[in-house]
Amino acid sequence: MDTDLLSAVDLPVGYGGVPVCAPVTLSVAAGSAVALVGPNGAGKSTVLQTMVGLLAPLDGVVQHDGRPVDERDAAFRRAVSGVLDDDAFFPSLTGEEHLLLTARAHGVVDAEAVVAAELAAFGLTERAAALPSALSSGQRRRLALAGALVRPARLLVLDEPERRLDTAMRRALADRLAALVEGGVAVLFASHDPAFIGTLADRVLVVGEDECPVVDPADAVAALQEG
């Protein structure tokens, strides 16, 4: 199946009418993973936020399932899950409660078992009852990622998912995401990690000032490894 879940053609992105990078042409189909690469400040996060409707494009539209993206639409929120906001948690809710809130609000069947499994997958079972302020930076990152995976989604949008994760957890996450892609989920992510990109991505979009070409993952990984 090659249906585009999310697509944009020559989309200018930026803030206050000023583009941060060259216009982006991008499509993410079900069962595929697209990586965004580029140096710090290239505009990867801006592209991701624009693709999911958190930022308005400077011109044109992003299409989701053939319709303009509207993040206020419940159907869009059921379909798309993501981790774009770093380190934002309710200070008085435990990690487990954050996940339970998300799972129950999405109508997940057997939510408590799903949450327990997610906590285990991210190595947070022992810290389930801890408040976010008592978690380490890496644990909070894992909790945020668990929040994106504790509910069903057709498209995952992740901004540098490998950030603040140890090597083993990075590998486990990449493998898990690859399995989800095998199962038909689409993944759009920004990353600086060659191994993560090599494991997961089908295509790579290089975000740049003059152009944003789509390249083969092997070429992108080689370029990243060369620095």
Binding site: Q49, G53, L54, L55, A56, E71, R72, A74, R77, R78, V80, S81, G82, D85, A88, F89, F90, P91, S92, L93, T94, E97, H98, L101, T102, R104, A105, H106, G107, V108, V109, V114, A117, L131, A144, G147, V150, R151, P152
Partner: protein, 516 residues
């Protein structure tokens, strides 16, 4: 694990809010009795504040009644109180527009807004909270204004209720605008409203005084009961309808804008709680206008003129600062032409200090920015002290005009106009020094001792930092206050004012940067 979900089992926004509220409440370390005690304590404090305020206003009324009428006092007190009320309302509108008014904290934006629950249900509590907060703010700010407007119980209650309802109405309208595409233009419009509210009556007072007439109005205290009730009913219905319309549009609010507003709220709240007025100003700062054309800076030769050029650019691209200058210049004029204020020179002197402080604060913006980014100053081939001196040039040039014109109009009908203008011009160096000293003031020092006072504990280090800048301006305006008490400006007073202001200005600039 294969995930499955049932749409019919999804939570509503109300259920999400309830879950979060219960989880938070289960960890709250305050019992209901503590909260009830806090509420009682708050209400008692508010009652004492109202009583103190009422007593002060009543005492002032008696003092003013015992004084002969001032010649240039041609504006009724009610008109000026109304102008202040409009200015306060505009400030409140600008504040709530800058903060949303509906916003989402980063946590809410990350964990609530991506849920399939209707956004209306998720944000309804926030709308209620903002509406209540606006009503409480209007009540608090409205007490002194309403007491000035009227002294009958019915009038005071009508005024306060009308203020609170107007605030709720404003929040409702702003939330509707927010859902319709944003409120970015509102702070500018509210700023223009403030300028008109203060400068308009001040200008009218000058013109009316020049023709030897005076204006009279009636306040809400003298309105018939049916009229007061009618006004309140209209406002109540308007506020209710506005809130209803806002509630229906909550679902249209975009997550990105909600989060941006939430971050502004957090920044502003943290700044306010830590008494950091400079950070609060940054948190509430409106957008800077992009220049229509690129500046060529052809007249800039050398680092000193470069500092002046940079400061001019900062000010010319911030229209709000120019509005602040007009308000700052007009405030003393308004006081000097208002019956009930002009009779007491001390009150006019307070208005002079407040007005010129507003103007100096506007002109301290380049210094505040330089203090926030010291690398820019260090990049110049000039000693730090010379850069700070150069930064006083623009404030001095502008304040010569603002203080001169303001003093000229304050002294209308009281001796030589040239003398009053010269007195204002002579005070400008002190306020220019205040602008630079205030802009470069160090971060708040919470490590200092705490002084017990009737108002509670006062952290001395924080208070000492907060008054850096205004202190010099206040001292530098003493000769102006003497002139107001005398009701004329002897030539010697101008000489004293100039010498005193130059000395204070030089001191302020020389000590603006703390040497660690």
């Amino acid at each position: 694990m294969l995930l499955s979900a049932r749409q019919e089992d999804e939570w509503s926004g109300t259920a999400v809010r309830r879950f979060t509220r219960r989880a938070v409440a289960s960890r709250a370390d305050t019992a209901w009795a503590t909260r009830a005690g806090d509420l009682l304590s708050g209400l008692t404090s508010a009652g004492i504040a109202v009583a103190v305020c009422g007593g002060a206003v009543s005492s002032l009324r008696e003092q003013i009644a015992a004084r002969p009428a001032a010649g240039a006092a041609v504006l009724p007190g009610g008109l000026t109180a109304g102008a202040v009320a409009v200015a306060l309302a505009a400030a409140l509108v600008a504040l709530f527009a800058r903060l949303g008014p509906v916003s989402a904290t980063p946590a809410t934006a990350a964990w609530w807004l991506p849920l399939p629950a209707g956004r209306r249900g998720l944000l309804r509590g926030e709308l209620r909270r903002v509406a209540l907060l606006s009503a409480a703010t209007a009540l608090a700010a409205g007490v002194p204004v309403v007491l000035t407007l009227t002294h009958t119980l019915a009038g005071v209650l009508t005024g306060l209720a009308a203020g609170a309802l107007l605030a709720v109405l404003g929040v409702g309208v702003l939330a509707v605008r927010q859902a319709a595409g944003g409120t970015r233009w509102v702070p500018g419009l509210a700023g223009a409203g403030t300028v008109l509210a203060v400068a308009g009556p001040a200008a009218a007072g000058c013109v009316v005084a020049a023709f030897g007439h005076e204006l009279r109005t009636t306040g809400p205290g003298s309105w018939a009961p049916w009229l007061r009730l009618g006004v309140l009913v209209v406002l109540l219905v308007g506020a209710g309808l506005a809130l209803l319309a806002a509630d229906r549009r909550l679902g249209r609010l975009p997550a990105g804008a909600l989060r941006a507003s939430g971050e502004a709220v957090q920044y502003a709240t943290a700044s306010a709680l830590s008494l950091d007025t400079r950070e609060l100003g940054r948190a509430l700062r409106t957008t800077v206008r992009r220049p229509r054309r690129r500046s060529a800076w052809r007249w800039v030769h050398g680092p000193g003129p470069a500092v002046v050029a940079g400061d001019l650019a900062v000010l010319t691209r911030s229209p709000a600062r120019w509005g602040q200058l007009v308000v700052g210049g007009a405030l003393p004029v308004l006081a000097a032409h208002t019956r009930g204020l002009a009779e007491l020179p001390a009150l006019v002197a307070v208005a002079v200090v407040l007005g010129w402080l507003v103007a100096a604060t506007a002109l301290g913006e380049p210094s505040r920015r330089a203090a926030a980014s010291p690398a820019a100053d260090r990049a110049l081939p000039l000693a730090g002290a010379v850069v700070v001196r150069a930064r006083a040039v623009v404030p001095l040039a502008v304040l010569v005009v603002v203080c001169g014109a303001s003093a000229l109009l304050v002294g209308q009908g009281a001796g030589s106009p040239v003398g009053w203008a010269a007195l204002g011009v002579a005070a400008a160096p002190a306020w220019a020094g205040a602008a630079v000293r205030g802009g470069y003031r160090p971060d708040l020092d919470w490590s200092g001792p705490v002084l017990a006072s009737p108002m509670g504990a006062v952290p001395v280090g924080v208070a000492a930092t907060l008054v850096r800048g205004p202190d010099v301006g206040l001292l530098g305006s003493a000769p102006v206050a003497v002139g107001l008490l005398l009701g004329e400006v002897p030539l010697s007073l101008i000489g004293v004012q100039l010498g005193w202001a130059l000395a204070l200005g030089a001191f302020a600039v020389a000590t603006a940067q703390r040497r660690d």
